[in-house]
């Protein structure tokens, strides 16, 4: 995996230490820009290239295509995409999947969700996560899930 240094002055703190700061900013109603780490959201978000713009989602029910930052039971923070939502009386569960992955992570609760991606920044330009063009590409990528592992294998060559 291609590991590049963060931007000059980047916060070199693990997410667990960063989270109080992140939560404080989100609680103030501020958006937070974070460098994307890891390539599990490739090709949509790439390590070393993209930053993600996060905002508080205040208990809003997420749907297909939304990208929450959530906390796993082991304390790890992850940014993946909602591919399924199961809603029963009084309870909501999400199934999460990285765009470069094909193993689903089911049963994520709304309580685990810390923030939601509202946009991303690439080469200094900001893009919205709600634009129809973006949503269409997300949908196409989901249709291609049965062949995703091969697409990713080909794509990986370009990021090595």
């Amino acid at each position: 995996m291609n590991k590049r240094e963060g931007a000059p002055g980047a916060v070199q703190l693990p997410m667990a230490q960063l989270s109080p700061l992140l939560l404080a900013c989100l609680a103030e109603g501020q958006e937070v820009v974070l460098a994307v780490t890891g390539n599990s959201m490739a090709p949509f978000l790439r390590h070393g290239r993209d930053q993600v713009v996060l905002a508080a989602c205040d208990g809003a029910v997420l749907g297909f295509g939304d990208v929450p930052l959530y906390r796993r039971d082991n304390g790890q923070y992850v940014l993946h995409r909602v591919v399924k939502r199961r809603q029963t009386a009084g309870s909501v569960r999400y199934t999460l999947l990285g765009d470069a992955q094909w193993e689903m992570e089911p049963e994520v609760t709304p309580e685990q969700v810390v923030a939601c991606a509202v946009g991303f920044i690439r080469n200094g330009k900001r893009y919205s996560c709600t634009s129809p063009w973006y949503r269409a590409r997300v949908r196409v990528w989901q249709w291609l899930l049965p062949v995703r592992r091969w697409l990713i294998a080909v794509y990986r060559r370009s990021w090595k």
Binding site: L18, L21, V33
Partner: protein, 88 residues
């Protein structure tokens, strides 16, 4: 001298981070992190003060020589000045 308004110092584990307030978007790539001493100096400089007074406060709080304290304060103040974070 004093630090410009519009920033808040938050403790993050054993470190401190300086975050802008009142802006819509906080870029975490530009957040300033400070160690414990840096956090202490930042707190001192939130009120109108002088480098001498800050060095005195540093001496009272930490076991350092007056020369080291004065030099450390001067370095810190210079960094703030470079980044245009000081009102003088």
């Amino acid at each position: 001298m004093k630090i410009k308004s519009g920033f808040v110092l938050r403790q993050v584990g054993e470190q401190y981070a300086v975050v802008p307030v009142g802006v819509q978007t906080v870029d975490f790539r530009c957040v300033i992190t400070l160690n414990e001493t840096g956090g202490f100096l930042w707190q001192q400089l939130q009120e109108e003060t002088t480098p001498e007074a800050v060095a005195q406060a540093l001496l009272a709080e930490y076991e350092v020589s007056p020369e080291t304290a004065a030099a450390d304060v001067a370095t810190f103040v210079e960094r703030l000045r470079e980044n245009r974070l000081l009102d003088e």
